[in-house]
C-alpha cells in the first residue's frame, strides 16, 4: 500500500492557531497544502488542491461560514472535512457532510492522536477502533468506517 502523506487544508481565521496546526499536521506525517481564512479562500483552495482532509473552523473571517465550506468540500470537491470548533453543539445533525469534530480548546496530544486516527480511517476505509478522546465522528462516517452498533469483524 502506498503511504503517500495526506494532503491537509487548514481553514482557520486565527493565524496563530493555524500556524501551530500546520506544525502539528506536518509532525504526524501529513502534508499541509494551504491555509484559508475565509470561506471564499477555502472553497477556491479546496477545488484547486483537492485536499484529502480539510480542518475547518466554523467561524471564519466572513462569519460562521465554515459549515457551508464543509458541505461544499464534501459535495463538490471530493474531500473530507473535519470541524475544529468551540461550538460543537451548534453543528448541524448531519455534520454538513464532515467526518467529525474536534472541540476547542483541544490539546496538542489530542489533535495529533485524532489526526493520526483519521489518517488510518481515510487510508483503510475502516476505523482501527473507537475514536480517541476529543474526536467525535459524524454518524455517517462512523457507519462508513465500520463503527456501527453491530460489532465489526476484526480484519487481520
Amino acid at each position: 500500500m502506498t503511504a503517500r502523506p495526506l494532503d491537509v487544508l487548514i481553514v482557520e481565521d486565527e493565524v496563530l492557531l493555524a500556524t501551530e496546526l500546520e506544525f502539528l499536521v506536518e509532525e504526524i506525517g501529513c502534508h499541509s497544502v494551504g491555509l484559508a481564512m475565509s470561506s471564499d479562500e477555502a472553497m477556491a483552495l479546496a477545488s484547486d488542491l483537492h485536499p484529502d482532509l480539510a480542518l475547518v473552523d466554523v467561524h471564519l473571517r466572513d462569519g460562521p461560514t465554515g459549515v457551508e465550506v464543509a458541505r461544499t468540500i464534501h459535495d463538490d470537491c471530493g474531500g473530507v472535512a473535519l470541524f475544529m470548533t468551540a461550538n460543537v453543539k451548534r453543528l448541524p445533525d448531519d455534520f454538513a457532510g464532515a467526518c467529525g469534530v474536534i472541540g476547542k480548546p483541544y490539546s496538542e496530544y489530542g489533535v495529533k492522536t485524532a489526526l493520526t486516527y483519521l489518517t488510518v480511517c481515510l487510508r483503510e476505509g475502516l476505523a482501527p477502533g473507537p475514536p480517541p478522546l476529543g474526536l467525535e465522528l459524524s454518524p455517517a462516517y462512523a457507519e462508513r468506517w465500520g463503527l456501527t452498533a453491530r460489532p465489526q469483524a476484526v480484519q487481520a
Binding site: 496563530l16 492557531l17 500556524t19 496546526l21 468551540a86 476547542k104 490539546s107 496538542e108 496530544y109 476529543g134
Partner: protein, 373 residues
Amino acid sequence: MTDILRSERAAEELAAEHGVGDPFAAAIRAARMAMIVTDAHQPDHPIIFANDAFLALTGYQRDEVIGRNCRFLQGPGTDPAAIETLRRAVADGEDATLDILNYRKDGTTFWNALTLSPVRGKSGRIDYFFGSQLNISDKKRAEFELGDARDRLEAAVEARTADLTQALQQKTALLHEVDHRVKNNLQLISSLLLLQNRRVTDPAVKGSLRGMLERVSAIATVHRRLFQSDDVERFDVSAFVRDLVGDMVGSARRDDIKVRLDLERVDIAASKAAPLALVISELFSNALRHAFPPEAMNGRPGEIFVGITRQDEEFRIEIADDGVGLEYSASSGGFGLTIVQLLCQQLKARTETTPADPGTRVVVRLPVNGGHR
C-alpha cells in the same frame, strides 16, 4: 274583527277572570319585575297583558304594546341565535330562559334576563305564554368589563412573556458567544506557548513553557467540560480527571507508566473547578515527570493511581505513584508545589504528602461545602 280589537277583547276577558279581588293578579300587576302575557290562540302571539314594571322598563305606553308581538323589543344588536331560541320555545311550547339584548322605545338598549313559559288551560292546550323580564345590564356590563380586563391582562402577560423570551434568547446567544470566545482564547494561549516552545532550545525554558502549557490545558479542559453538561453551576471532577489524565499520559509518551483510576462521581461548584483542576494537574504532572526517571526504573513499569471519593463532608483526592519516592526524585524547582499550596489555601483544602513505599502518596481533602472547621 281586527287583531288589535281581538287582543283588547282577550285582555278584557283575562282581566275579568282575574279581577280586583284576585291576589295573584294584584301581585303581578304590582310586581317590580316586568311581566307580560301573550295570547297563544291568536296568530303571532300578541301581548294581551303587560304590568307597569314592563312599561317602565321598555318606555312604552300600555296601548302601544297590547296587540303586538314582543319582537318590537329586538333591534340590530340582538343576537339572532337568541331570537331563534325564543322562536323554537314558542313553537315547541316549552320554557326558555336566556339573556337577550333588547331596545327601549327611545332606542337605548338593556340586557334582559328573559324567562318565557307556556300557560296551559284545563284541557292541556297552551292558552297563554307568560314572560318575565329582568334588567341585568349592570351585571352584563360588569361581565364585559371583567372580560375586557382579562383580555387586556392576557395581552399584557403575552407581551411581557414575549419580551422575556427575547431577552432570554439574547442572553443565551451572549452566553454562547462568551463561551466561544473563552474557548478560542484558551486555544490561542496554548498555540502561543506551543509556537514559542518550538523556537527555544534551552531545556530549562522549554520545561517552563511545557509546564505553563499543561496548566493552560488543565483550565481549557475545565472549560470544555463546563459547558458540556446541562448544569453550568456544577462540575463533574471525575470526568475532568479522566480527560486530563488521558491527555497528560499520552503526551508524555511514557508507555512504561500505567494509570489506574478509581473515580467516584463528585460534583463541585463550577467556581472551584479551575483551581482544583490546576491542583490535580500539578500533582499528576509531578508524579508523571519526577517519580519515574528512566535511569532509575531499570525497566520496571510504573503506576500512578488517582482516586476520588467522598468521605462525610470531604472530597478525598489521592494521587499515588510507585516510583522512586520523594528523596530521590528531582523536584521541578518548587513552582508547581507553590501553585498547589496557594490554590489549596484558596480552596480551603488540605494536602498531605507521605511516602507510599515505594513512591509517594499525596492526598488532598476538599470540604464539600465551605471550609474546614
